[in-house]
């Protein structure tokens, strides 16, 4: 029974949603919409589940004083402070009925002065790592790597005004070789072709996996070992 019920739900919902795409009329259209709405409702509960899980994992770490446990205190504190600031709309000029992100509210201040600078800092570090990694790994070791390197250079130049300045002198008949035009061509022709091929491959894989799930062949989502038949 523990397995049959989820399998039946997957089968019914899966087929209903597929049929709803091709026959968007009652009852399938309405059922399809309802199932999508149920997903949105469940998605909200996922936040509660996520929050609970965060407290459990990091609480455990602090309690057992595992490696780097002081960082877990920061995590829990951050979570609790932002949660309270958001739930009770502390400092919100319009009180509990106001917009969560009202300027002057603690929630918005936490976002502006802590969350945003921290995230921006973390992401900014990428520039340094990318430069260092490019220096060490981007080598024209063979034909394929050379093609990749040349394409990367054209895109790097083409995505800046420098590319335009370098080849502005080219006559109209050779405008294709103008670096921004070359970069645009790489993006819209070879890149697009490759991306479409990947997309089609992924889509076929998703269709195959979805059918396996709907037909009950793939059961790993039910948990336990050796559920894949």
């Amino acid at each position: 029974m523990r397995r049959q019920v989820p399998l039946a739900i997957t089968f019914i919902v899966g087929w209903t949603l597929i049929i709803a795409v091709f026959i968007p009329h009652p009852p399938f259209g309405q059922l399809g919409e309802n199932f999508t709405t149920y997903f949105d409702i469940i998605a909200v509960f996922a936040f509660i589940l996520g929050g609970g899980n965060l407290i459990r994992v990091h609480g455990n770490k602090v309690y057992k004083k595992r490696q780097d446990w002081p960082y877990s205190i920061v995590t829990i504190l951050g979570f609790v402070v932002v949660l309270i600031a958001g739930l009770f709309k502390i400092g919100n000029p319009d009180g509990l009925s106001g917009d969560l992100t009202q300027p002057g509210s603690l929630f918005q201040d936490l976002y502006t002065y802590i969350f945003a600078p921290l995230q921006a800092t973390m992401f900014s570090l990428l520039a340094f790592f990318v430069a260092s990694a490019s220096y060490r790994a981007f080598r024209a070791k063979n034909k394929e790597a050379t093609v990749l390197l040349v394409a990367a250079f054209i895109i790097l130049l083409g995505r800046t005004p420098i590319g335009g300045y370098l080849t502005f002198w080219l006559p109209e008949s050779l405008s294709f070789f103008h670096i921004p035009n070359l970069a645009y061509w790489i993006m819209t022709i070879p890149n697009l072709a490759g991306q479409r091929a990947i997309l089609i491959g992924i889509s076929l894989g998703v269709i195959a996996m979805s059918l396996r799930l709907i037909l009950g062949i793939e059961r790993s989502y039910l948990g336990g070992e050796g559920e894949r038949s």
Binding site: E33, T36, T37, F39, A116, A120, R139, L157, P180
Partner: protein, 285 residues
């Protein structure tokens, strides 16, 4: 130690210093370049230009502060253009921090530069809702199923801008800014395609190549990375010169980006020269 050996074993911290300088110096000396909108960016501009007064446009903030330096110039320029054209702007967010960014943009651009615009009549903030692409799927047929109030908690039926809005099909254009999931791709797949609604937007430079397969049939335009934002700003300033005196972070930040790209390329060239020398000497295969 010969120069070749020094370059081969260059400390990564030296590279870090060069990258830092390549960003800081152009910022300090305000090195900027002129930009011209490429066709894929110009298409978005032309679409907004062609919309009649009062048309409804969704601007979805599907990003967080981590990518804001790249995306925010697009949000600023689009907000200015939409309001300049007297279109109705509906801000929303599929990402939780997007709500904060929308509020911040409203304060900085709309309230500061368009004080005559009225909340609820000219622009609206619907806020963040969970559900990702499934949220889009629901509001494609019934927006009020998910949005009973705006971000301020006002009943959606009492907002003038929401009169006559039943679902996404009542909108003339959907713009999504982001780069991750959910984002522009989800708007195309779950709203643009099934609802036949024009969709366009902007994405980070690393995500933009993934979106090209949808151009131009399913996605009418795309701003890719900082350059996309800078190109849109230049297109806006060309038609509306009054914005030359306003902030244009996209164009301003293209200077540091251009120099940083050059520095990276120089290091890659140096790396390859040392590699070929090493290979010639039989040190590497």
């Amino acid at each position: 130690m010969p120069l070749y050996e020094k370059l081969k074993n260059i400390d990564r911290r030296v590279i870090y210093i060069f990258i830092a300088l390549s960003v800081i110096i152009p910022l300090v000396f305000k090195i900027a370049f002129t930009e011209q909108a490429s066709p894929i960016v110009q298409n978005i501009f032309d679409k907004i230009e062609s919309l009649p007064e009062g048309s409804r446009v969704i601007l979805s903030y599907d990003y967080s502060p981590s990518t804001a330096p790249e995306i925010q110039p697009m949000a600023d320029a689009l907000t200015r253009h939409i309001l300049e054209k007297d279109l109705r702007l509906y801000n929303m967010a599929l990402w939780a921090p997007g709500h904060n960014i929308a509020t911040e943009t409203t304060d900085r651009i709309i309230i500061a530069e368009f004080p005559e615009k009225v909340y609820g009549e000219d622009y609206l903030n619907l806020g963040f809702k969970a559900g990702n692409e499934f949220l889009i799927a629901v509001i494609l047929t019934d927006l009020k199923k998910m949005y009973t109030t705006d971000a301020k908690g006002t009943d959606i039926d009492s907002i003038p801008m929401m009169q006559g809005v039943k679902n996404l099909r009542n909108f003339d254009l959907i713009l999504s800014l982001g780069g991750g999931k959910p984002g522009l791709k989800e708007w195309i797949l779950f709203a643009g395609d099934p609802g036949h609604i024009p969709v366009a937007g902007g994405a980070t430079a690393v995500s933009a190549p993934n979106l090209y397969p949808y151009y131009p049939e399913q996605m009418l335009g795309l701003m890719g990375g900082m350059k996309g934002g800078a190109e849109y700003e230049s297109a806006l300033m060309k038609i509306y010169p009054q914005y030359k005196n306003k902030s244009h972070p996209g164009i301003d930040l293209m200077g540091p980006q251009a120099i940083a790209h050059l520095v990276i390329m120089i290091f890659v060239i140096i790396g390859n020269i040392t590699y070929f020398i090493a290979r010639k000497r039989g040190e590497e295969r």
